[in-house]
Structures are given as structure tokens and as C-alpha cells.
Point group: C2
């Protein structure tokens, strides 16, 4: 079961050749979630082979252009492609009007249902849930109302041990109940306990998206122990004051947060176009938190399922 | 003095790898005019080396996304780059609200003056004029109000013949008046006629942009004899019915217009993404009008100044 992040854009607001504005696609099992949608995102998807028609839920952190100007193009492309599947957009207040006016100007009546779900950017709350994951808001500290996103894979049912099916001749229609916790009663009345028949499913995985924001210590308990943390690093530490003034973070600050929250892996992005090279971002971060990388457009990060658990 | 068109995008509404949506930059002398601005235009400019901060006037043909979704990104980039020079946008009614709502949503107060000039898309009229050119609207036939654009270089003053300055010892402060039509009076009272001192400047050049539109015979007198005609060719002639139904044109129709209007050169664009290859567009057009090409993203077409005229 996949848990994979594809980073489509790594640059801050001012564009630069080779680095697009923010957009990421998180795949959890067969569900694809789009996170932010800067200008050109739909083209980046075509180039990287992300199949955008699988996306149903879109999460927009804030209404600055480098996180949202690609959305209208994507929505229009779906319309022109005769999409019928609904789309749900989670975003701070204001996006519905922004998109609505553009659709009206082009005389476009979407062929699919589109629903906006305004985010209260001051609260850490459950935004969305389906059979594979829950998505929570993360209050961030930026110039306009901004939310990060925490994706938590759901704990799956225990895995049945194939040999036990054989040994006890368990009928196929009982398997689902056993996975979910039932014991198995043999025809002679003997009870085989659930624990003997199953191993736990791998523990669920998690990803936190934190952009745009100043360093914010209140995030530490919220992203504690996530497998993968994306944190913006618009600047290096030599521009720490500028970062603070513009409500952004430095690579060192992002790494400090990663360290204090004990995350598995840190990936940096949203680099200011004043920096031609991004290697220094990774270098600066690794001094504080070794398992850190600086994303490039197209970077894919897979979180493999941990070894299947054994009863202790 | 330059007269050069750079085509930044050649695709119709549904994006495809390698073909961006519509946008062109026309350079006349030192003035750069942007015509349409599909998603990603500012990145295409960076990639092709077009210096977008030289642009002051923007002409938008209609409010379909593939002609306008890149505008907000460009305007925002100028804002973030501390632009001070004013921007004038000529477009059908509705664009001001579309842009205004987006700027408000991002809490952006532009640092430069931005003025919208609504186009009456039913009239052929002068939209704009500066020292080098005039720009006229061209009523087109599309699903929403749409205007083409006709750019006419202004006739420049006659060129003075350098040897005549020497022969008659013409003082430098008189040269401008002579270029503009004055005779020169020698100190002894003799009159040297303007015609003897000058040769005419090269005749002015012209470019017409016609997208999106059905074949429209009313355009013929309006674009008669232009040096360069850009006409949309969303389809090949095998999709003529579909072209008509969707208010688009075929390559053959564009070529027919070029032939009847006696233009110098035809360039085709706005290709439907159903066509992987664009060579067939040029082939179809050339059967009707030989001096035709199918544009690629990044195509540059220079209209050289004709040989400097001689008095007949």
C-alpha cells in the first residue's frame, strides 16, 4: 500500500527557471491528495506523470498566488475533459469567490460538483476523513490566514496469517471478521483466539505539510513523530531577520522543528529565488537534523510500510 | 528598428507537454506588447529570455482560461519585484473584476498603477497609440466576446542622406525639421527641396492576431496586406464541423483568409491537444497559401524593415 509524496514545485513567490511554485501530491493507497497548486501545476503533473484525474480532495494552505494560481487552470481542464467526479477543496476563506469569479468570467459552468470547505486557520482540527486517512489542519504563522496539513494513514485491520487459514480450514466469509478482531470457532466448538490467527498490520504512516510559516514551536506537539515533515525554508540562516519580517522560516529553523518533534525525515522547499543553488539548504539543515533533504521539482519520497508487525 | 514576434504558447485549452497555452510578445522598436497570457506565461518568458518588465501594454483577446489564467501570476510577480511602471490592460469586459478578486484574496495592493481598458468586441476601433504604433481591435467570432488585434507600425519620418549634410553644411539643429518635411534654406538664400535631401523611411510594418475565432470573412478587409497574420487553427480540415460547432477555425480556413487578404506571411497556432504533431497544420495551410508555418512554443518571427525607399 503506497504512501508517497511527489513534490511538483519548490520555489517561493518569484518564479525562476527550473523551480516552480508550490504544489505536492500525496498518494495514500489509491487516494491522491493535492496540496497547494501554484501556477503551472497541471503542466508539472503532465511532465511528472502524476495522474491528476485521480485527485478528489485539494488542500490549499493560503491564498498567496504561488500556492493557488494554478487551481483555476486545473479545475477548467477537468471541466473540459468532461470530469464527473466531485472535487472537494479545503482552503482558508475567500477561495470560493476567487474561483467563482473566474469561472463566471469565462462563462464556465463546471460539469462536476465542486465544494469548498473553509478552514479555520486558528484551529488544529480534523478536516477530512476517508477509509485510508485523516487530514488535520495545522495553524501556521504567516502574513495571511494559513494552514498546514497533517495526513495520518488509518490503522488497518490485522493481517491474517495464510497458514492458519489452511490449518483451521477457515471459510473465506469469516476472514474479514477475524482481521477486525474476532476469534474463530471451529466446527467442534474449540475457540482459536484472534491473536493466534493474525499479525498486526504495519503501523500507520504520517506526513505533515508546513508552509508558509515562521518557525512556530506550537507545531512541535502536533507533528510529533511524523514519518515525513515538509517545512518551508524560504531563506538560509544568514537571512534570518528577513525570514522573520516576511513570516518565513530558514533551513536551520525547519531542522530545529524536525529535531524537537522527532520526525523521521525532513524535506525542505519554497526556496527564495535569490538562491540559485539549493544544496546549501540541505547542508544547513543537516547540521541540526541529519535526515534532511532539499526538494527539487519532481522529487518523490516514498514512506515504505514498516515490516509487518509481530505479536510481542 | 525591430519588429519581432515571439510566440510563447501554441496550444488550445487542454494542456499537453511541450505546448503551452496562448501568449505572444510583439516587439516594435523598443516597445514590448503582450498578447494573451495563458497559464505559465511568465515562466515561458523566463525560459525564452523575453524581458517581461519591459511590457506596459497587455492585450487580452477573451476571458477563456487558456488566454488569461497566467495574467494574475505575472501581475503579482511585478508587484513582488517592486515594479513602479504602470500597466495598461485592454480586454473584454469582466477582467478587472476577475483580477481584482484575486488580488484581494491574497491581500495584495499592487505597487504600480494598473488600468483596465474594456474593449467593445463588436467594433474595429483604435485601442491604443504611442510614438511607434497603433493598435486596433478586430471583432472575432467566438463563444464569448472576443477581439483580435491589429498592430500597425507608424510611418517614420524620412531619412536624411548623410552626404547632403556634408555638401550643404546643414546644422544639426535643422535636421529634425528636414526629416519631417522642411526644405533647407542655404545662407545665400537658395532653397534645397526636402526631396533632394532625404529618402523615405521604410514603409511601416503590421501584424494581426486573430484568436480565437471561426473563419470570418469580415476580417479580410481589416487585415488586408498585413506583413504577418497569426490565425488560430485549432483543428485540421477533417474536423471542420467540430471547428464550426466550437467557434474555432481549421488550418485551411486560416490559409484561405491569408490568401484573400493578401498577407505577407501566415503563422498558425492554438492547436487542439488531440493533434500530437503540428506539421500537418502547415502542410494543410500551404496547399492554399504557401508562405505559412505552424508555430512552436518559442518561435520567433522577425519582420525586417524593407530596403530603405528611394524617390521614384
Amino acid at each position: 500500500m503506497n504512501f508517497e509524496l511527489t513534490i511538483l514545485g519548490t520555489n517561493a513567490a518569484l518564479p525562476i527557471v527550473g523551480r516552480s511554485p508550490s504544489a505536492q501530491v500525496l498518494q495514500i493507497h489509491h487516494h491522491h491528495f493535492l496540496i497547494d497548486c501554484g501556477e503551472g501545476t497541471q503542466l508539472r503533473m503532465l511532465e511528472t506523470g502524476v495522474r491528476h484525474n485521480r485527485i478528489i480532495q485539494i488542500f490549499i494552505s493560503h491564498l498567496h498566488g504561488d500556492h493557488v494560481f494554478g487551481l483555476i487552470g486545473l479545475l477548467t481542464t477537468w471541466h473540459l475533459s468532461n470530469r464527473e467526479a466531485p472535487v472537494d477543496i479545503f482552503a482558508p476563506e475567500g477561495l470560493e469567490e476567487m474561483i467563482g469569479v473566474q469561472l463566471e468570467s469565462g462563462h464556465t459552468k463546471l460539469k462536476y460538483p465542486l465544494e469548498f470547505h473553509p478552514i479555520d486557520t486558528k484551529r488544529h482540527a480534523l478536516l477530512f476523513e476517508n477509509e485510508v486517512a485523516q487530514v488535520f489542519s495545522l495553524p501556521l504563522d504567516h502574513r495571511v490566514p494559513t494552514s498546514g496539513f497533517l495526513f495520518r494513514e488509518k490503522q488497518r485491520s490485522d493481517n491474517i496469517i495464510p497458514e492458519k487459514i489452511e490449518t483451521y480450514q477457515i471459510p473465506v466469509e469469516q476472514i474479514s471478521a477475524i482481521k477486525d478482531g474476532a476469534d474463530y470457532i471451529l466446527p467442534d466448538g474449540r475457540r482459536i483466539p484472534h491473536q493466534e490467527l493474525t499479525v498486526p498490520a504495519p503501523p500507520p504512516r504520517s506526513f505533515a505539510y508546513c508552509a508558509d510559516t515562521r518557525y512556530r514551536k506550537e507545531l512541535i506537539p502536533l507533528v510529533k513523530g511524523v514519518d515525513l515533515l515538509y517545512h518551508e525554508a524560504t531563506f538560509l540562516d544568514d537571512n534570518k531577520d528577513r525570514a522573520h519580517r516576511t513570516y518565513h522560516a530558514t533551513a536551520r529553523q525547519a531542522a530545529t522543528l524536525a529535531k524537537k518533534a522527532g520526525v523521521g525525515q525532513l524535506v525542505l522547499g519554497h526556496f527564495s529565488s535569490r538562491y540559485e543553488k539549493i544544496a546549501p539548504f540541505a547542508e544547513e539543515a543537516r547540521k541540526v537534523f541529519p535526515n534532511a533533504i532539499a526538494a527539487e521539482d519532481g522529487t518523490r519520497i516514498e514512506i515504505p510500510a514498516p515490516e509487518r508487525g509481530l505479536r510481542e
